[in-house]
Symmetry: C2
Subunit: 216 residues, 2 copies
């Protein structure tokens, strides 16, 4: 029974990694689509979101079945509950990439990103992608050091959002209110994306150590 | 054993209702604070958010303990998993009320809401409050008809958000970019608040009927 249980945990991790890879592809493509006004790429992110949702539904079904069959207690039960929450975070991260892609599509053939914000949006996209790269390591190897790093990376993401809002609100902003609202929403999507990564990192940290991660 | 289990389910529902009442108080006060630039009320919402988080943590601990002790299967297990998700949604709704209160505090002593948006923000606040009133009935009486009503109410909330964004982007907008960004974020918080209520309603619908709620 125990061996089967651990095999099942590994198969849950495998699916979480599959979701992480798809979410990373989604956020990378969404960022590129937003920065380069690439309609085809935006459409692809929007269409591919269903695949992430499907893995989550399937994974949650399996996780609940494992709970019912194995009747785990203590740390095994907590691990399964935690994995339900992790898949919900991953699914939401996919939604946020999808929202960014929709912004790109909405303004096509124009670019949604004014020149002044090109750099900061590029940085937010790069930060999101690098957070996901670490998150894959956290999920695969239950790496608590990397989990703490993600909290610090999230602080950087918050700084990038403040920088972006600062540019929008500066007297030198010459673009439309529409463009400001678009970019404020884009920054919010990146910031929430990063928050969900933190919440996944914190769950792994807690499952591994039995303690809450200290806030960076 | 069965009786104890049902008593425990009832105590979970009681806590969910307690959270719902606190979230409703939070969103009502946050809306008033935003509309009337009431700093004290905004501070209260911000401080009280911790109480909602505390109930959630305690409730989730208890729910996981019930899983471990009672080893439920089939629909009982699904009901417990669903209640973990419901408390997460409620906690997030509390956060969103807290975000609205922070907007009020940030612009104090000014009002964050320009005159042109007073009506639509009032409507969004009223809609959020009325959705929560229905949600309490859905949670207490497992009322699937009301659950479907919440989906329709969410469509109305989306319409209010589009109306607000339309006003921000109209050529007659005379206020600052900062004010437009504030109000865009406020509308997003209300819209997400309503989404979480839908997700709770859908979970209850699914638990009661075994089927996914048709999208209104």
């Amino acid at each position: 029974m125990r061996d089967l249980f651990h095999e099942e945990l590994e198969s849950i991790t495998a699916d979480q990694l599959k979701m992480t890879a798809l979410v990373r592809q989604a956020i990378n493509s969404a960022s590129t689509a937003l920065l380069t006004a690439d309609l085809q790429l935006a459409e692809k992110v929007i269409a591919d979101d269903q695949a992430i949702d499907n893995i989550q539904q399937n994974l949650d079904e399996r996780t609940i079945n494992i709970m019912a069959r194995q009747q785990p207690v203590a740390s095994d039960l907590r691990r399964l509950v935690s994995s339900l929450r992790i898949s919900a975070d991953l699914e939401r991260m996919g939604d946020l990439a999808h929202h960014i892609a929709k912004l790109a599509r909405m303004r096509y053939p124009n670019s949604a990103v004014p020149g002044e914000l090109f750099e900061v949006i590029t940085e937010m996209g790069t930060a999101a992608s690098s957070i996901l790269e670490k998150m894959a390591v956290v999920l695969e190897f239950r790496d608590t050091n990397r989990a703490l790093e993600i909290e610090r990376d999230d602080d950087d993401m918050d700084k990038l959002q403040r920088k972006l809002i600062g540019i929008l609100l500066s007297p030198s902003w010459v673009h439309t209110v529409e463009s400001a609202v678009d970019m404020a929403f884009a920054s919010r999507y990146y910031e929430r994306f990063s928050d969900h990564a933190v919440s996944i990192a914190q769950r792994v940290y807690y499952t591994e150590t039995g303690e809450f991660a200290p806030r960076g």
